[in-house]
Amino acid sequence: MIRRGAIFWMVLAVMAGIGLFVLKYEVAEMEDRLADINRQTLANLEAVHVLKAEWSYLNRPERLETLGRSLLSLEPVKSRQTARIADIPIRPDNISDSAAGEPAATATPPAADHVPPLLAKYRRDP
């Protein structure tokens, strides 16, 4: 009777000890991993910080302007190229919806030589 009780408690104590041991090592390992991740996060944040500085260095307006002038066939927007929404005339009623809807129904975009005449004058030939 007494032996069985003692054995029960001893087994329980040993099991609790082993459990604690395993748990402790598991926690230590997780803490190591966490510290590692934190270190990596910090390193990444620092790298992002440096990259941000580099990004703004590369985005200096005078550099963009030189690059834009040499690589793009675009010009700065002039005030006559801008218009207000209110200035665009309202579509006349006599154009039927089915006719207007037709180009949209076809999935393919209009060919390059079908650019609306309004924009054609701003196109620059190479």
Partner: protein
């Protein structure tokens, strides 16, 4: 009794009569047992409390994990759109513990071979000094650090430091200022917000728009080169909030290299320099006279003859030699007419007006480099006369721009600022002229660009208005005729001004293109026109058709060309 079970013993004792001594012992045992039980219960309770229930003071696990953010010792500075203007990067600095260094001669030679800008003799002296801490070189690049590490010299150590970096370089140098090697602000915003930048982690957001800053910088630099000027200044200010969108002073410097800043480049012409502004002051003079109600746009003065007072003669540069109406005086920039206008108002009222629009006190802008205006000690009639056309009083360009914003925005003066203001909220200001006067000034400024001395400032669709200014520079105690301060101050669009743009050139020389002229209308007005053409679409200013009927009628001025005589409706 030995070997018998205690329970059996107890049972047997219950059966027999109990002696008093045993009774006492048993009750004592019971008390002791109860006490032990209570103690164990307390310990058990505490154990449960500590292990199972969280304590308020305990650090939360989740919190400690997220607390490892990235910090720099000094906060970033960004422009109004969040573009990085100044930041701190981690670098390694090399120092030596001279007591540990074995062979100073060899170490110095090796170091100088790796770090090219070090001198062998200087390094050797440092390494032989026997001091436990001595800087060898601050802020090494990672490559240099690696090279020094590979030398493997004992006694050389690295200290992690931060270095201030300005990605935009010299572009906003006078606004930002710079720091010393220990990251203490020495000039500009870096100095005026030194404490805040050092303690707060959040970036400091300026009102500067880097794109506008670049447009002003590029156009001004081009003009300085073209007219061989010794310097230039340019400002763009929001008329409703007082925010400075661009502030350029030429020549400029690279804040990344604070050791190599020359004295001339360090000087901030926009806030520290005070200059006699010349005819741009006629904006204030005319507004003052109109606001008193003493004159209207139909009044006029006889500008046929130069004015002689004391040993001075006041003449007109674009002389018409006849009676001139107020719009004509403004349009042709007549000194004689302006003097008579100021005399009508009187020196006392003029002084009071100049004080109201902030010409008598240093600009309240958030920079340490702010110049105090030079004003006459006794404000006599002769002072009133010269101040009417911008001589005998020296103010900084920032003061002038701030004053002109109040003239065109409906008459409210607000504090000029370099910090981004919240959208949609107009800071409180003080009324300095009536809305009606402001409206008239807008028409007059538009007239100058449409038909007067400022035609070169025109920008298509932006409805620019403005005023030219050309002042002779004071050298010693005399005016130097050949050395000019040529400026132009403009605003756009004149129907409802949103921005004031100012450009000034210091000692420009006329070219063939300008027929040898180096006046404000020829050298500074084109800069303002080009800047406005560039920044207008960028800032979302809707183009205005200057020929449209409603715009024409809002800008029209009734110009009288003869005293009591015929009128000519402005049809331009």
């Amino acid at each position: 009794m030995i070997g018998r079970h205690p329970l059996l013993l107890r049972r047997s004792s219950l059966e027999q009569p109990v002696p008093p001594a045993v009774e006492t012992g048993r009750s004592r045992l019971l008390i002791a047992g109860a006490m032990f039980a209570a103690a164990f219960a307390v310990i058990a309770g505490r154990l449960v409390d500590v292990t199972l229930f969280a304590d308020g003071n305990e650090p939360r696990f989740a919190q400690s994990a997220s607390d490892t953010g990235h910090h720099t010792d000094r906060a970033d500075i960004v422009d109004r759109n969040g573009v990085l203007l100044a930041t701190s990067l981690k670098t390694a600095s090399l120092y030596a513990d001279a007591r540990i260094v074995l062979d100073a001669e060899e170490a110095a030679r090796k170091l100088a071979a790796v770090l090219s800008d070090l001198e062998v003799a200087a390094v050797r002296r440092k390494l032989m000094s026997d001091r436990p801490f001595i800087w060898i070189k601050r802020h090494l690049t990672p490559r240099q650090q690696n090279a020094v590490n590979r030398l493997g010299i004992p006694g050389l150590e690295f200290q992690q430091e931060e270095r201030r970096v300005y990605p935009a370089g010299p572009l906003a140098a006078h606004v930002l200022g710079h720091t010393d090697i220990d990251n203490r602000g020495l000039a500009g915003i870096e100095r005026s917000f030194d404490a805040a930048l050092g303690s707060k982690g959040t970036p400091l957001r300026l009102s500067i728009d880097l794109r506008v800053q670049h447009a002003m910088h590029a156009e001004l630099a081009m003009a300085v080169e073209k007219f061989q000027a010794i310097g230039g200044a340019g400002i763009v200010m929001d008329v409703d909030s007082g925010e400075v969108l661009a502030q350029v002073s030429l020549p400029t410097f690279d804040p990344n290299n604070p050791m190599k800043i020359g004295k001339e480049a360090r000087f901030n012409r926009t806030t520290l320099g005070v200059y006699e502004m010349g005819s741009t002051f006629k904006i204030f003079n005319t507004a003052m006279a109109l606001d008193t109600g003493r004159i209207t746009l139909k009044s006029g003065y006889d500008a046929a003859k130069p004015i002689r007072i004391a040993r001075f003669v006041i003449r007109d540069f674009h002389a018409k030699r006849r009676w001139l109406s107020v719009p004509e005086i403004f349009m042709y920039s007549s000194n004689i007419g302006s003097v008579k206008m100021a005399l009508d108002v009187g020196p006392v009222a003029q002084r009071e007006f100049m004080g109201r629009i902030g010409m008598l006190k240093p600009s309240p802008i958030e920079l340490p480099e702010v110049g105090a205006p030079l004003i006459p000690q006794r404000w006599r009639e002769i002072n009133a006369m010269t101040i009417s056309f911008g001589h005998g009083i020296s103010v900084s360009p920032m003061q002038l721009v701030s004053g002109v914003t109040a003239m065109v925005n409906g008459g409210i003066r607000r504090k000029p600022t370099l910090l981004r203001q919240p959208d949609g909220i107009r800071p409180r200001g003080t009324r300095v002229v009536s809305a009606d006067t402001s409206e008239k000034i807008r028409r007059l400024m538009r007239l100058v660009v449409e038909n007067g001395t400022g035609k070169n400032a025109a920008a298509e669709g932006m409805l620019v208005g403005g005023k030219t200014g050309t002042a002779e520079k004071v050298v010693g105690r005399r005016y130097k005729t050949k050395a000019l301060m040529s400026s132009f101050i403009g605003a756009f669009p004149m129907t409802a001004p949103r921005y004031v743009v100012f450009a000034m050139l210091d000692e420009p020389t006329g070219t063939k293109d300008t027929f040898g002229y180096a006046t404000g209308g020829w050298v500074a007005a084109p800069v303002v026109g080009k800047v406005i053409a560039r920044i207008g679409p960028m800032l979302g200013v809707k183009p205005v058709d200057a020929e449209a009927d409603n715009v024409r009628s809002r800008m029209a001025i009734d110009i009288v060309t003869e005293k009591n005589g015929r009128r000519q409706l402005a049809s331009f």
